[in-house]
Symmetry: C2
DNA sequence: ACTGTATAAGAACGATCATTCTATAACTGA
DNA sequence: TCAGTTATAGAATGATCGTTCTTATACAGT
């Protein structure tokens, strides 16, 4: 009946993000969020307006707290093919800690569940794809300028787009398999293909 | 009040499959299914037992009617890299007819929405991945035996696994973008990488 | 110490969910 | 022609959904 008055409000978004990430939008109820966050029902509506707006806020938080640090690996000064490999292992290591089937990528999950039906989510998802594309393109350009392959800017651009698309499959896959070596195999093959293309 | 008594029961599964495919499991209600199929509420429970079982039946139908014909492209007698390209364009052409954002692949959608939480769905999804892997491996093996690259069986096997994983990303992507050329670009890049690896 | 604000707990609401049941009528086989 | 079967339309049910509202209380500012 009273109120413990701890700083639970601060944990609202991170905890809600985890639930939406693992279970998706429709399978996560307000009750689930209340139980997991120790925040009152009303607080959710006072702070966000509703479930849909809260989901958007969680997606934004994911982009800032989870996706951005990973993309930063690709944006580091002398990033090349090694940085691309590092980007993938960054996520795979997360799934090694979590166990499989894992949560995958919140953005990739939203891409299939919500993006076709909600403009705001599709916009956020596509904005992330654009960021990721630019980061891949930077790393590929560095790798290209160091190689003898003489790949055109158009080819590098398409390769970056390919990496954006292809990597979504890895995160989908992480939600259905139980063997982490299947994820590692993906990266080995991808790097083999890239090295073959850049030499 | 009466009963038109047409052969609507036959269209139950195909129509239900379309709804689950486009909107996913949780966003499709029994009411939606009843309206779209002109089948009585009770009929669904008499024939399948419930929503979850019906979803499984729809997924099986998709594997038979949609996935299997596509995989057959890869399993044709002299399938090589061209057949792999044909497999991808088979799905892309479907999205060209449908328009974007499109439905993607029912199996890929289920992989992210349901597979982590339902064993039966995860089993079906993984069985499809196994079929697809075998088909890719066959086509890659044919291509390998015709090339000078001398790729090992282990490398071909890993490449096939890569194609299975990577292709899931294309179907996710088809649900969030509005420009079909982004999907075509993926295939161009992938084929460029494969040709570079096999020469 | 008092007042006002913010937030907790949780009851209440109408809508919708999956599921079951009932009553009616079209078909089947005799 | 007349059961018996089968599938219909749709009401009914209880659970759960997202959302709102009420009440009590912990805190900040004075």
């Amino acid at each position: 009946m009273p109120r413990p008055r701890l700083e639970s409000r601060e944990k609202l978004l991170p905890n809600a993000m985890m639930l939406f990430w693992k279970n998706g939008y429709h399978a996560t109820s307000i009750d689930d969020l209340v139980k997991a966050t120790a925040v009152a029902r009303g607080g959710i509506y006072a702070d966000f307006g509703g479930k849909a707006e809260m989901f958007e806020a969680c997606l934004d938080l994911y982009r800032q707290e989870v996706a951005a640090p990973a993309i930063a690996i690709l944006n580091s000064e002398h990033a090349g093919l090694d940085a691309i490999e590092g980007y993938f292992y960054h996520f795979i290591d997360m799934h090694r800690r979590h166990g499989l089937p894992g949560p995958g990528c919140f953005i990739a999950n939203s891409m299939t569940e919500i993006a076709p039906h909600e403009d705001a989510i599709r916009t956020a998802v596509n904005a992330h794809s654009k960021d990721l594309h630019a980061a891949f393109l930077g790393a590929l350009s560095h790798a290209g300028s160091r190689s003898n392959a003489n790949l055109s800017q158009a080819t590098l651009n398409e390769l970056a787009l390919f990496l954006v698309t292809s990597s979504q499959g890895l995160w989908s896959y992480a939600r259905s398999v139980t063997d982490i070596s299947l994820l590692e195999s993906y990266v080995r093959s991808l790097m083999g293909l890239l090295h073959s293309r850049f030499s």
